[in-house]
Symmetry: C2
Subunit: 349 residues, 2 copies
């Protein structure tokens, strides 16, 4: 049987108004009444009917989400799709979503946006972090105003978020290396695509994945040689040149692992030059990556369910703000292993 506020009020010998005031602690309640109601509340484990409560809720919640700029088909777009999905699910609750993009290649843009956020009145903030120091500065500011914040994509050490939703990037790299070595001949040389570093100690995720790759080789006592493939994000026209140079230098490459979302760069090169004997393992289901997987240029593609990350971030924040539900801080999202055969059936949430 569903227990209502009315039932609790009856059993405690008070009115529904009093119970409501206790539930939402807005004061004006005597000690005796509070005790009586608390006792019943513990007994019955009351859960409000969230759909109806939303209906009569007048309060508006402002949630800020800040990530770097997002282009269509990119990994980050899915995070926003998850956000939208969650908001649609809670369409009874009035939330005012403020989106603040910064340029991930421009630390000043990030500082700018973050300092603006710090001055805004918000009920909660969702952060897709890039720059370490800037993020820590923002979060300390938020903590000062006791505004809860949640990380997506990756957790930033030295902060105290309400929760974070990210994949285990270290294990991701470890796994990619395992997959690659299991489908390449023993001792074949391995290429690893790494963009030139931009800004400060950013690209946290890539570093962790790289470490996973190395650790796998060491742990298993494998002696495959690892060669870094240089690549410039800002000057894509140089890509072809850099790649040809690489493949001319190293003739015995058996497989390539790409610890960032730009695996399609390699796949495109393979397609153009009709290279078929090099295995390729990549991460992130961007539109070009998915296409390359289907066309057979990528062998394994690792997905990290960005949609679920966005979805859970909003969901957690709302559950916390509106219903004061307890929250689990550490949340690792699944690492999905996709192949040509399975990607068509793949859709998150």
């Amino acid at each position: 049987m569903k227990v209502r506020i009315k039932d609790i009020a009856e059993r405690a010998g008070v009115s529904t108004g009093t119970v409501d005031r206790i539930l939402h602690n807005r004061g004006n309640v005597s000690e005796t009444a509070r005790e009586a109601v608390d006792k019943i509340l513990k007994e019955v484990n009351y859960k409000p009917n969230i759909h109806i409560s939303g209906m009569s809720l007048k309060r508006k919640y402002r949630i800020i989400i800040t990530t770097h700029i997002v282009f269509p088909g990119e990994y980050w777009e899915s995070i926003y799709q998850g956000v939208d999905k969650a908001l649609a699910e809670y369409d009874n609750i009035k939330v005012d979503l403020v989106i603040c993009h910064y340029n991930q290649y421009d630390i000043y843009s990030c500082r700018n946006v973050y300092s603006q956020i710090a001055t805004m009145e918000a009920d909660g903030v969702i952060i897709g972090p890039t720059f370490k120091e800037e993020t820590i500065k923002l979060t300390t500011e938020l903590e000062k105003n006791s505004i809860p914040y949640i990380f997506v994509d990756s957790m930033m050490q030295g902060t105290n978020p309400l929760a974070y939703f990210s994949s285990d990037h270290y294990t991701c790299g470890y796994l990619m290396c395992k997959l690659l070595t299991s489908i390449t001949p023993e001792n074949s040389e391995i290429g690893i695509l790494q963009a030139e570093r931009i800004g400060d100690g950013s690209a946290n995720t890539t570093i962790l994945r790289k470490k996973g790759v190395n650790d796998y080789l060491n742990e298993k006592g494998l002696s495959n040689k690892l060669h870094r493939i240089p690549f410039s994000v800002l000057e894509p026209e140089r890509t072809d040149l850099l790649l040809s140079k690489f493949f001319h230098t190293y003739k015995n490459i058996g497989g390539i692992v790409v610890p960032n979302s730009r695996g399609n760069v390699i796949a495109d090169y393979f397609a153009k030059n009709d290279i078929k004997n090099i295995r390729l393992v990549c991460v992130d289901i961007t539109e070009p990556n998915a296409r390359a997987l289907k066309e057979g240029h990528i062998d394994f593609l690792i997905g990290q369910e960005p949609e679920r990350q966005g979805f859970m971030a909003i969901k957690t924040l709302i559950e916390y703000l509106v219903y004061r539900n307890p929250v689990k801080v550490d949340n690792f999202v699944p690492l999905d292993i996709l192949t040509k055969e399975t990607i068509d059936y793949y859709e998150t949430i």
Copy 2:
């Protein structure tokens, strides 16, 4: 802006009562009124607030779910978990869930249960099919009474379900074979665990997976020899004997594919006899399979999201019955590829 019944009534120049009667087609509506309202409805794409409508809904829905008997930790248990999850999500709608188990090894038990179901009054039926003829007989009976039914786990040809939720078993087999051959030395012999057939042309899923395995080998022009490993579900004490016999007969087995959920049988044998040089690819995240994967005896485990199947079955049925939402008939659930590294982060829905 949320559009309400009241808004529609205003714009159509009728009362809310009329709109209501049209929405729930309970007659007593003139052609002119119907047209006017239908026009507005199309314009605004009206969606009732399902939570609130559920609240004031007085009707009760009876949903029958019939599968074979389920043991804890088994694949099928998850289907029921998904069912529960969906019912919890629609807790405003009064549904009376009737669970009818039959014994999958006893065709008479199935006939018995099915004929009972055919006589019950129900608003919808969810079927986890085993026996072909019996299932077709049941579904024709249901169609006679125009009771919608949904398949989970696998679709049965020759029926007209409202929808089905299943994985693509053929592709599953195809994929398993691809994975296995990609991690075993070229031309190594392959074992395939197949239980002795019980009942009639059952185990539809296994047959399809087997076909996928064969087709992969043929398509890729691979010449790996395939050996059937016999195995009796009903007499597990014979397993050890059968397996020793098999591995003594065939000394060059490089990998094994298990197209049914009993992969743990092989894994246990490997563990007991300290066999490490044979790769193993299995399907279904049962408790013992998951354990074997973590312990390293299974290399790849394919999951078919049973929880989502149960969840979607209930969700679809409710959306169809209560809100008359259009329904997609063919629904393939993702094929999840799991390894030791990823299973800990894996959870469906």
